[in-house]
Symmetry: C2
């Protein structure tokens, strides 16, 4: 199979939205913990498969985002799944450093709705200053 038809088979069956994107869930492959939700375009999905690590599309920066490029907290690819409607992707990953969130938490989903408010219920395991340096954080 040629490289072009290879990429074609990967992107086939996916219903890209009007912006050419699809939402992607990243899940820690062994614990089942949901780490984050991000977005991919075709180039990001191809890069994820080619590099065997999560590569997303940053909607704010409008460019490919190699998860962990600054923090070192890359996500090694274990498996790619597609849902029945073809409009959502699930990545099983190995989260390097154990931290997916830029706030220094394991998961980006650290706020829980309880007692009529959103409350942070997961610990900060590493100071963001240590992750990114003082210039960014």
């Amino acid at each position: 199979m040629s490289e072009s038809s290879y990429a074609e088979s990967l992107c086939a069956h996916i219903k890209w939205d009007a912006a050419g994107l699809v939402p992607v869930i990243a899940q820690q492959h062994d614990s089942g913990k949901i780490l984050m939700l991000a977005w991919m375009n075709r180039a990001a999905l191809r890069a994820t498969l080619a590099e065997q690590r999560a590569v997303y599309y940053s909607r704010s920066r409008r460019q490919l985002w190699r998860k962990g490029e600054q923090s070192g907290h890359t996500q090694l690819l274990k498996e790619i799944r597609l849902d029945c409607d073809g409009d959502a992707v699930l990545l099983q990953v190995e989260q390097r450093g154990g931290l997916a969130c830029h706030t220094g938490r394991r998961s980006c989903f650290y706020r829980r709705y309880e007692e009529r408010a959103w409350r942070a219920v997961e610990a900060v395991l590493k100071d963001p200053h240590e992750i990114y340096g003082r210039s960014r954080a």
Copy 2:
């Protein structure tokens, strides 16, 4: 707290997209299995909390979608989480009947990319005809 400010606190901190929607991941609370990804508007999120079961917004039917209203496979609410950016929601649920997918599978994410193709890798546990009746399936 009044009902209106109650609803306000729930919808606060969420970054609704241009269509007034947010993507929502449903995860089986005990096994950690990811069941599906759907969408909510404000009314769906309020209904989910009020009824303690997953109520989504169907983008195709353009109306609230009480998950399981036809199949009986409702999703009982255990927990609502919000991510760091406020643009994705995670529901921890108890999936009644053990089947989230209209194809009769546990999860909608039943296709895995392997050997350069998307392959169905989860079993159909119940014939969709049995779930919905022959008229629909």
